[in-house]
Symmetry: C2
Subunit: 410 residues, 2 copies
């Protein structure tokens, strides 16, 4: 990792005068704190002896049943026996990688993909290959071509990792038609799909699309999370896996942490059973929709010619492509100097791509901050463009490398 | 793993009519539940926006300072910068193994050693070697001899894993004199020590001994936990490591889970700052001392000739050696049939040892249950002895293998 410089920069970027369009933090200030305060106290008062004790490595059976109800909203018919509760879906990603990946094994990802997934796959020495995306998600023909090429080269592929809804970082959603094609291709190649779906319920327009797992229970490991629909502070995520895989994941979880917090699992369970959580998600969605709309309108109104961006129907992120000759990574220190921060696109590739891209988050700043942030960003870009027009390039390119800090962190 | 049978047995053993001397669960019913209920509510009410958000991968700086105060009780002078908060000390063990161990690397452990440490080392394909112990802990000459032999064979050793206080499972404590010798030997061989100390503050007699880390800050990674001194339900443990190692552990933690629960860390922090936790530990120690005394007195009064056991000065466990010809693993189903459970010694070795041993826990059952449990166990042993005297052996030996479920779980 060569992250120290960018980490230092992000330390500056966390100052209050900087508008951060970088972090992927949900806006937890919209939560019903009073009710959550009651819930945590009730769990200790009424279930303290269990909540404060070790639990099972697979997770609380009551919560696992409730998780099945949540997944039913995305078309998934599953049993609690096949669910394992994890420390955020990040731990599920880590456990799946641990179980499946030997050094040198190929793992397929979208291009771009979630930065911490890259870090996790790299930690287990996977050979990370990207598959091209467009505005409708991963391109089936590109997936097919990649798999055929790797098969011809005798390279085993362990799984295809995808964030099909409102992807992090690109903001795009895999269309229903493409989901069918992707599943067909993966079935034909006997390839496991790792479906990571933290944002699926945060949809601000359009029709919900069935989870990949809903139509391929034997071929898909599904990862879910309460980090965006409730709070990341309890660190409750999960994996739903075919039972032979699930058994291996439970052993891996026991080795990794013995068991997750019984207390946190019971708190989330009580929240789900006592709070109108579907209404809460609707409230979240109204708030996030306004922020997304503000960001898209600001981009539309202010961005210089030659800039393009995605139009997410949900989730937290917009993916921007800068005009030719601009370099988002090289520009970042100057942007932070002008009190606006983003994550450069290079962090979302295992290869040296993404220099002309940046990820902008609209989840955490207020609408006013978002439009002010875009205004500052456009100012920086215009200076870069004028440098480019004078010298042919805006700046020396910094060295390549995956150097974004985890963008879910502040 | 060939654990399914033993797991099934432990499912039976968790029935209320069975006295379980198997689990390593602390007795959380002795906790001040009312105060803890207030604390969790206060954290949400007063610090909710932070508690419910993502935190840093290294952990809450306030809690890390408080952890340094806890470690000071064992002679450790450390700074919060070198502490990383983990999901129980189990995750710290996992992260250290992940950072240091490549497949085939040698890891040294005591004989016997903590079962889930064996599982974790095995998960990363370590070559696990045991070093002999006696009533004063690991034998320095055996450590020296093992290291010399491995060096001559050109086998790199990554670290020496030790539970120096009231060891799990043996109940023995490494003497002060031996700590000096062990540190000398490890320094001479340039070998890292992994000091796992979950029970250190639970001492019921005798003088506290300084942590190994207190006298060798550059050579020791120290693992601590609030699971036994407060509650395992919050899953708060930690590692204290030399700073170069600590930086690697933080990156590994980020890959493994992004960050631990901010909420749980703030709850434990508030408990430490608002509750007389040293007094609480004294109360725990009085309760556990009575249970230990009951177990030792029952063993003394009832055990058949030829049985020996350790006399722990603290912690949760007594290690029993059965008379010649008895096999603790083969006997377990009959013991459960007589409504008493324990963990067979075989689980605590990577090799095929420990057949004549069992681990008895006195932490969770009441004193009455403990003496009744020992009475039942002695009944089973007497039947085995009479079989042995008639047929020469008590029973067919079941196959070897590490098959204990994690003994901290119910």
């Amino acid at each position: 990792m060569v992250a120290s410089e960018v980490r230092a920069l992000f330390a500056v970027a966390s100052r209050p005068e900087v508008v951060s369009l970088a972090g992927g933090m949900p806006n937890v200030s919209a939560l019903p704190l009073e009710h959550i305060g009651e819930i945590v106290q009730q769990v200790i008062a009424e279930q303290g002896a269990t909540a404060l004790q070790y639990g099972s490595a697979q997770g609380d059976p009551v919560l696992r049943e409730q998780i099945c109800d949540v997944m039913a909203l995305e078309g998934i018919d599953a049993g609690a026996d096949d669910v394992i509760v994890t420390v955020g879906s990040q731990q599920a990603l880590d456990l799946v990688t641990r179980v499946f990946v030997d050094p040198g094994d190929v793992v397929l990802c979208e291009a771009p993909t979630y930065v911490t997934a890259i870090n996790t796959f790299a930690a287990f020495q996977a050979d990370i290959r990207h598959v091209a995306m467009d505005g409708d998600g991963v391109i089936p023909e590109a997936l097919e071509e990649t798999l055929t090429r790797l098969a011809a080269a005798g390279r085993p592929v362990k799984f295809f990792y995808t964030v099909p809804n409102f992807q992090n970082p690109a903001g795009v959603t895999l269309s229903a038609e493409r989901r069918r094609r992707v599943l067909e291709i993966c079935r034909a190649h006997n390839l496991l799909v790792l479906e990571d779906n933290p944002y699926g319920l945060l949809r601000y327009e359009g029709e919900a699309v069935r989870a990949l797992r809903a139509d391929a229970p034997d071929n898909v490991i599904y990862l879910g999370s309460f980090s965006k629909t409730l709070s990341p502070g309890f660190r409750i995520g999960w994996a739903l896996a075919p039972s032979a895989v699930r058994a291996k994941l439970v052993l891996a979880a026991e080795s990794a942490m013995l068991s997750h917090s019984s207390f946190n699992q019971m708190v989330v369970g009580r929240y789900l059973s006592t709070h109108p959580w579907r209404e809460q998600i609707k409230d979240f969605n109204e708030m996030y929709r306004e922020r997304r709309d503000t960001m898209l309108a600001s981009l539309e109104a202010m961005m210089p010619a030659g800039t393009t961006w995605t139009r997410p129907e949900g989730g937290f992120f917009v993916w921007v492509t800068l005009p030719e000759g601009l370099d988002a990574k090289a520009m970042l220190p100057r942007a932070v100097g002008k009190r606006v921060a983003y994550v450069p696109g290079t962090g979302f590739y295992a290869s040296d791509e993404g220099r002309r891209n940046m990820r902008l988050s609209f989840c955490y700043p207020s609408p006013d901050q978002i439009s002010e942030g875009i205004r500052r960003l456009v100012g920086v870009m215009k200076s870069e463009i004028s440098l480019r027009d004078t010298f042919g390039t805006a700046s020396a390119r910094p060295p390549a490398g995956n150097d974004a800090p985890s963008p879910d962190l502040p």
